[in-house]
């Protein structure tokens, strides 16, 4: 295999054959080393979180990847191809000026207009001191009820958008709540009024693009009505056909109330997990 080792001869055939072999081995090893090095680089530059989210996003069912303008009734049908990052969407301004045509019906859930919403069922509310408060929205809160355990980030933690902000456990299911925006954790609260984080955003909050990716107004209504419809289908009794909404109110602590449901799927759909 190498000069000096029994079996090696300085012949054309030997040298060509072994050179080809070593070239192949070096190519394979370089490929693996390159992938490993790029992985390390992505973690150093924090691009890893963006890659993970984009990969997770690509795995979401198409019904979960609808464009906000479809939710607001501005377009008939459009799947998002930008991982919900409206800040860098080339089509955003084209559709944003269109009139919203979605119908607003009472949903019996408290979704306040003073907050913005992330598709992973968190709300974002600005404070006068330039920070933002982040909490679980009403639907997620009704699902989870009182979690068995909560793992909140420490103050000072840097969060990237769509990264896991905090984890909860409920009835053996792990729930990962995605961060709705980038920033530094400056406060953590719980549990009477629900678990929440206070974040100082990395980008200038006065820049309209900083919060552009979050849902507001008629988009929230369109999104939420679809989420409730999905939930109704997923939580129906086994072997029963889908039924029309009966106008009832979502009860709190659904995970305890309907333990036999496929919570693995319901939670994945709700919190944008794969």
């Amino acid at each position: 295999m190498f000069p000096g080792i029994d079996g090696f001869y300085w012949t054309v055939g030997h040298v060509v054959f072994l050179s080809l072999f070593f070239a192949v081995v070096v190519t394979i090893m370089t490929t693996v080393a390159s992938a490993a090095w790029r992985t390390v680089r992505d973690f150093r530059t924090k691009r890893a979180i963006e890659l993970c989210w984009k990969s997770d996003f690509a795995e979401l069912p198409e019904s979960d990847r609808r464009c906000r303008h479809e939710l607001a009734g501005k377009v008939i049908s459009r799947a998002c191809d930008n991982a919900f990052d409206c800040r860098h969407c080339g089509k955003y301004s084209q559709f944003a000026v269109l009139p919203a045509t979605g119908l607003a019906t009472a949903l019996a859930l408290n979704y306040s207009d003073d907050r913005l919403y992330h598709r992973g069922h968190t709300w974002v509310k600005s404070a006068d001191d330039g920070t933002f408060t982040i909490g679980l929205d009403e639907l997620a809160d009704h699902l989870v009820g009182n979690p068995d355990s909560v793992e909140m980030p420490e103050v000072g933690t840097e969060l990237e958008i769509n990264q896991t902000a905090w984890r909860m456990k409920k009835n053996g299911n792990e729930i990962r709540v995605r961060a709705p925006l980038d920033g530094t954790v400056v406060g953590v609260g719980g549990s009477k009024e629900g678990w929440f984080l206070k974040i100082r955003p990395r980008l200038d909050p006065r820049d309209p693009r900083t919060l552009r990716h979050l849902l507001k107004g008629p988009e929230v209504h369109g999104w939420l009505s679809r989420e409730l419809e999905r939930l109704q289908l997923q939580l129906r009794a086994p072997n029963t056909p889908p039924a029309l909404a009966d106008g009832g109110v979502l009860m709190p602590g659904l995970m305890d109330a309907v333990p036999e449901a496929d919570w693995n799927t319901v939670l994945a759909d709700t919190f944008l997990e794969t």
């Binding site: 030997h14 490929t31 890893a48 890659l51």
Partner: protein
């Protein structure tokens, strides 16, 4: 207590299955795996006997040195060619329409090659000294090229399998795995190119191995430069049968699971590719056979009829190999009307695969069975139970690995379409 454990197992199992994918219950899945696990266990025991006591556990001897195992090796390596060929078509020739079958092609290739390497380890024996072949290579031997290329290609297939493995629902939750998968996946075209080069040479060298056997006129062939014609015939036949085998595997999984896994048009495309290549192979094989029967063999003192007087290796085998399992499936796979019918298409694919297996069987067994010297007799060989059990073990290993991959990995992830319809469209 038992029911609680069972419920917990079911819940845990569900968490490893991709979201939105329907799979059979855990108990039914285990029931399906259990007979295969038994076959695998018996195969491992038989292989252990062969490794511990040596090849006298087999019915091979110094005259009949190649048997069931080498036939299995040649067969599954040919059928596993769908992996490198699909990668070549998708990444090098940019045939994106074959993407839905790419992952399953990699898994099938990985199973075929790892199974072949495992059985070669038993056949060659002394696996702890396997490194000798790399450290002291005999570069005049086709087998050295085969060993180097198959080892490297198995490494390539393992690397191509890793991104599929890391896309498992639980494994992908680890960010480092997911990012590494992403980066490795971006470099897969490089691996596909390397895999194509390696496969081209080892498929060829496996054929060349027979073609250079001057002492075995049944296999010996004239050729081009240092390569006998069997070098090129093996490459052609492997890339012709690979897509057909992928079709059969996918159709079997569709039948077992009762689900449509790939777009219907994909089978027709694979069938057409397989059919065209098979037609070229049959033409080349026919010309090669005519040259061998009329020129090569008489020049070394053998009249063609001498090969076919020993039953069951009569001329019907040659006819079956070239016409029934070559020309007929090539026609059925390429003819528009027959290719449009799933039954015909799959039957033709099965015939094509059977033809390639028959070719490998004939070259392995008939080559050694036919007498070559005046005092030789026609040799008969029946594999021992250890050989059959090891053979069965490799098949069971393949079924188990594929079943686990299908259950827990995204083998047939369909690309998600993007559509935009603006109000008023």
């Amino acid at each position: 207590m038992a029911s609680a454990i069972l419920t917990d197992s079911r819940l845990t199992d569900r968490k490893w299955i991709a979201r939105g994918e329907e799979r059979t219950s855990l108990s039914r899945f285990l029931l399906w795996l259990s007979p295969w696990a038994v076959v695998l266990a018996v195969g491992i025991y038989a292989a252990g006997l062969c490794l511990y006591y040596g090849l006298n556990e087999t019915n091979m001897d110094n005259r009949f040195a190649f048997g069931l195992w080498i036939f299995l090796d040649l067969g599954i390596i040919a059928l596993g060619a769908g992996a490198f060929f699909t990668g070549f078509l998708v990444y090098i020739l940019k045939r994106a329409e074959l993407r839905p079958i790419l992952n399953t092609a990699v898994v099938v290739g990985f199973i075929c090659y790892s199974g072949a390497v495992a059985i070669l380890m038993i056949d060659v024996g002394q696996p702890l000294r396997a490194w000798f072949t790399f450290w002291h290579p005999n570069t005049h031997s086709m087998l050295t090229e085969v060993t180097f290329c198959i080892s490297c290609y198995l490494l390539v297939l393992s690397l191509e399998y890793i991104p599929i493995l890391l896309r498992n629902r639980q494994l992908r939750k680890l960010p480092s795995f997911l990012v590494f998968e992403h980066q490795l996946h971006k470099l897969v075209p490089v691996l596909a190119g390397v895999g194509t080069l390696l496969s081209f040479f080892h498929q060829g060298s496996l054929g060349g191995l027979y073609g250079v056997l001057r002492g075995r006129p049944f296999a010996f062939r004239a050729g081009i430069f240092i390569w006998p014609s069997t070098f090129f015939l093996f490459i052609l036949s492997a890339i012709a049968s690979g897509p057909s085998f992928l079709m059969l595997v996918t159709a079997t999984v569709e039948k077992v699971t009762g689900r449509r896994l790939v777009p219907p048009d994909l089978f027709r495309r694979l069938g057409f590719i397989s059919g065209v290549l098979l037609a070229i192979y049959v033409a080349a094989k026919s010309i090669d056979t005519l040259i061998w029967l009329n020129i090569t063999s008489p020049s070394v003192g053998f009249a063609p009829w001498q090969y076919y007087i020993h039953k069951p290796f009569g001329t019907p085998i040659l006819f079956a190999e070239i016409v029934l399992l070559g020309l007929v499936p090539a026609f059925l796979l390429t003819y528009r009307k027959s290719a449009a019918r799933r039954g015909w298409l799959l039957s033709a694919a099965a015939l094509a695969c059977a033809g390639i297996l028959l070719n490998r069987f004939v070259l392995t067994v008939q080559t050694l069975a036919v007498p070559t010297l005046p005092f030789d007799e026609f040799l008969q060989y029946t594999p021992s139970w250890q050989e059959v059990a090891s053979f069965g073990g490799v098949i069971a290993y393949g079924v188990i690995v594929y079943s686990l991959s299908y259950r827990y990995l995204p083998l047939f992830a369909a690309p998600k379409g993007e559509h935009t319809h603006v109000s008023g469209d």
